[in-house]
Symmetry: C2
Subunit: 313 residues, 2 copies
């Protein structure tokens, strides 16, 4: 009988990778601050009272400040109009103290269906630390210098940090969002992976995913990726962050006695990725949720702010 | 014994498809011309004396004028500097008579390695009928209105015109250029294909291509795609336009007695796609070279100029 732990995936520790990347950024922050007479500055706009957004923003402010950045949080009520957001963006665009601008998504629905797009396009591409303006996306596709969406950039940094080869591998990206799926596919392509973009309308998703040497799940559906989707030994990157409150769903994800089941029973909810926990028994390497891609994402926001600051000098 | 012709691919006639598309554009050109008091205008910049470029530009001017567009060709000698090109672009950007601007690639090598990029980025995205500025590319990726690179746009129009379903199919794009491969992949993705981006560094290209329901070859290597790359019945789109002058290469492409072999013997060269002629016996449908994608590309340039003109009013 084989020891069961031997067949388990290597867990890719996002916190440790993030800490290593932060160490390389820290002296650059200091150099910039000394040379410019001010720290790199990030302006964050948070409109409305979405609780998940509040948690994310708190993390961004906390890490940024711990990191020696100036982080200014601009809050607006859910009743504010899109013009109020645009006015703040215009002020931050013009501000000599702010190198990066981030508008937390989603904006309150009352701002209208096209609010996100109007606000994003109002951001100066040179300060677009989320990499969401058309200019940033175009530069990424054309492999030119620019600011790249934080989560896919973080995934690449983690793969590099872990010594996982990308060139010549077949990568499958499940999910085609502007913020993760599409830029992720481009970054992998530019590193000479053969890249398949799959999504909710892909027939036989299992078969498509099983071809992956590197499988990136970014769809926002808890536990979608099962053992049947994963070639034994494949690297599986779980970008999903889904808060699950339904006990029946949780019971289908974690076996009795699992540590995360206890978390759920204590809190009434639990964070679950797009990858089912059973995949740990098949994958060669796997990012846990939480503690995998998440810490890299916030770290890349700091890296982007620093990059924007350095480029502006 | 089966009749050999029955097993041959349906040839997708680009000239006929282009003619049908042009018919739908013609009344729009007339309407615009009447309303604006001038025809849609296209400015083409041709620098140097690359013979292939001269041929392409002549086609663009000819079709545009036959189509009722104003087409102005601005010629520069191979000795001209990049600043001369930038000056023309600036003038066309400001011109109220020009809705589209196209700078024929390649620019003379003497203009420097970054000349193409500098010139493209100088073009007003609203007049970027080649869809090459970062803004155009970003808008395409984000599925927002904008001008899309002519060849991939033409391929989509041909598939639609021929009633070939895209949604739910597996498309493989071989080649990852900014002008064809990458925008092609995005257009197919947005029409709900599962899309694989393959390239020169893809291991076992044959196996990857054989998974395609729709295979797009855009690499610029004559006859690269053989029967071994094609699942029987697949739709094969050949974007390659390679002028071959080597008799040994031609002998490997066309069997004795083939019509194209006669063309070669008469002219000393022959146009060959990225798809080997033998694929005709395996594919379900195939675009010939010449006469396949080419006519669509020029037609989409007219469509883009018209679109830019209409959007500017």
């Amino acid at each position: 009988m084989t020891d069961r732990t031997e067949t388990r995936a290597r867990l890719l520790d996002g916190k440790a990778a993030a800490a290593r990347i932060q160490e390389t950024l820290r002296p650059r922050v200091e150099r910039f601050t000394q040379a410019a007479g001010r720290p790199p500055g990030l302006g964050i706009v948070l409109a409305g009272d979405d609780p998940a957004s509040a948690v994310y923003v708190r993390k961004k402010v906390g890490l940024g400040q711990a990191f020696g950045l100036r982080v200014d949080l601009e809050r607006l009520s859910a009743a504010a109009g899109v013009d109020a957001v645009l006015a703040i963006v215009a002020r931050l665009n013009a501000s000599p103290d702010h190198d990066g601008i981030l508008v937390q998504s989603p904006l309150p629905p009352g701002m209208g269906a096209d609010a996100e797009q109007r606000v994003v396009e109002a951001i100066d591409p040179a300060k677009d630390v989320d990499g969401l303006t058309a200019t940033s996306v175009g530069r990424l596709v054309q492999k030119r210098p620019g600011l790249v969406s934080c989560t896919p950039a973080g995934v690449i940094r983690m793969l590099e940090d872990e010594g996982i080869a990308i060139a010549g591998r077949h990568a499958v990206v499940v999910g085609r969002s502007d913020i993760v799926g599409k830029p992720m596919a481009m970054l992998l392509l530019h590193r000479d992976a053969t890249v398949t973009m799959a999504h909710s309308r892909t027939p036989d998703l299992e078969a498509v995913c099983r071809r992956a040497d590197i499988l990136v799940a970014a769809v926002g559906r808890p536990g979608l990726i099962r053992t049947g989707h994963v070639r034994p030994g494949a690297v599986v990157i779980d970008v999903g962050v889904n808060r699950v409150t339904d006990a029946a769903v949780v019971a289908g994800l974690f076996p009795e006695g699992h540590r995360r089941l206890e978390v759920f029973r204590q809190n009434g909810s639990v964070l679950v990725g797009d990858v089912h926990p059973e995949v740990e028994a098949v994958a060669g390497a796997l990012t846990p949720v939480p503690g995998g891609v998440g810490p890299l994402t916030v770290t890349m926001l700091m890296a982007n702010t620093l990059q924007a600051a350095e480029a502006a000098r």
